[in-house]
């Protein structure tokens, strides 16, 4: 078969890993949340007597930040696990490929001896 046909087949598009779009959208949501102005970040001072409201506001922001940090930490942990998993997968395939290639050499020699 012609090399160019083989190249087209070998380089055919492959599906992205499961959940890829979801992971992208999580990252996109995180980026857009960062870009969005925080309600507590107003530059205009609030009138006197609204201290309790401000404290409540800050508590809500703090709680939001904690939740974001926890969720972010969990997402980061998952991303690391996925990266390690993909790497382990590659290594398994490389290791088995090497092991089988070496076993083949031995098998071929034995087969040649057997056929003589």
């Amino acid at each position: 078969m012609h090399l160019e046909d083989n190249l087209k087949r070998a380089l055919a598009r492959q599906s992205a890993p499961d959940g890829f779009a979801e992971r992208v959208m999580n990252a996109v949501n995180a980026v857009s949340a960062e870009a969005r102005p925080s309600p507590g970040a107003s530059r205009h001072p609030l009138p006197e007597g609204e201290g309790r409201g401000i404290r409540r506001g800050w508590r809500a922001i703090a709680a939001g930040l904690v939740l974001t940090a926890v969720a972010g930490g969990w997402a980061a942990e998952k991303a690391i696990e996925r990266r390690e998993g993909e790497r382990a997968r590659e290594e398994v395939l490389v290791a088995l490929h090497i092991a089988s290639a070496k076993v083949r050499v031995a098998q071929q020699h034995v087969h040649e001896i057997g056929s003589h």
Partner: protein, 182 residues
């Protein structure tokens, strides 16, 4: 003291039940190599890798089945610029680690090319480990698979990688499979 002796006795009894991981790590060899491939995957990493192997891909599914029962995969492969650049005594150092349960399955000796040795860790009827030593003039490859190995599965994986099957009977079986698929 008596308890300690019992513990040692129990440990000695239990030891043969566990497959043996060999030490294939020789930093001095790695330093001299122009190219090196090191794969060290223990049980947890193998379990993690299994999750990421593609079930819809036949090769990867086969690999998944093979690693399912393994507790370790250790591969060290080194290439050198020039012949005789590595200390061949490392091969003896690896062999010296093999206990009485290890049996030599294949030994290939070639003056100019590869010297391949394959050993199996036999526990009764079962295979508990595999060691491959390939010592070539400019290449040294050491492979240790730890855990029960289903040789049929390993052979079928080799078939998938385009490696010819060993016995005539096996080839006939495969031809029959191919006919069924057609």
């Amino acid at each position: 003291m008596r308890k300690f002796a019992i513990l040692i006795f129990l440990a000695a009894l239990a030891a043969p039940l566990h497959a043996q991981r060999l030490n294939l790590d020789f930093p001095s060899i790695a330093e001299r190599a122009s190219e090196s491939t090191d794969v060290t995957l223990d049980g947890p990493m193998l379990r993690l890798a299994a999750k990421f192997l593609d079930k819809s891909d036949h090769d990867e599914q086969q690999a998944r089945d093979i690693i399912k029962s393994l507790t370790g995969i250790y591969v060290h492969s080194y290439e050198f610029e020039h012949e005789g650049e590595y200390d061949r005594s490392v091969v003896e150092k690896v062999r010296a680690q093999l206990g009485p349960s290890w049996k030599s399955m294949v030994t290939v000796r070639s003056r100019v090319k590869e010297n391949v040795d394959i050993y199996l860790d036999m526990r009764g009827e079962n295979i508990a480990g595999l060691l491959v030593i390939d010592a070539e003039p400019r290449e040294l490859t050491l492979v240790n698979l730890v855990g029960p190995i289903d040789l049929d599965r390993l052979a079928s994986l080799e078939g998938e990688f385009g490696i010819p099957h060993f016995s005539k009977g096996e080839r006939e079986k495969d031809k029959e499979k191919e006919r069924k698929h057609e």
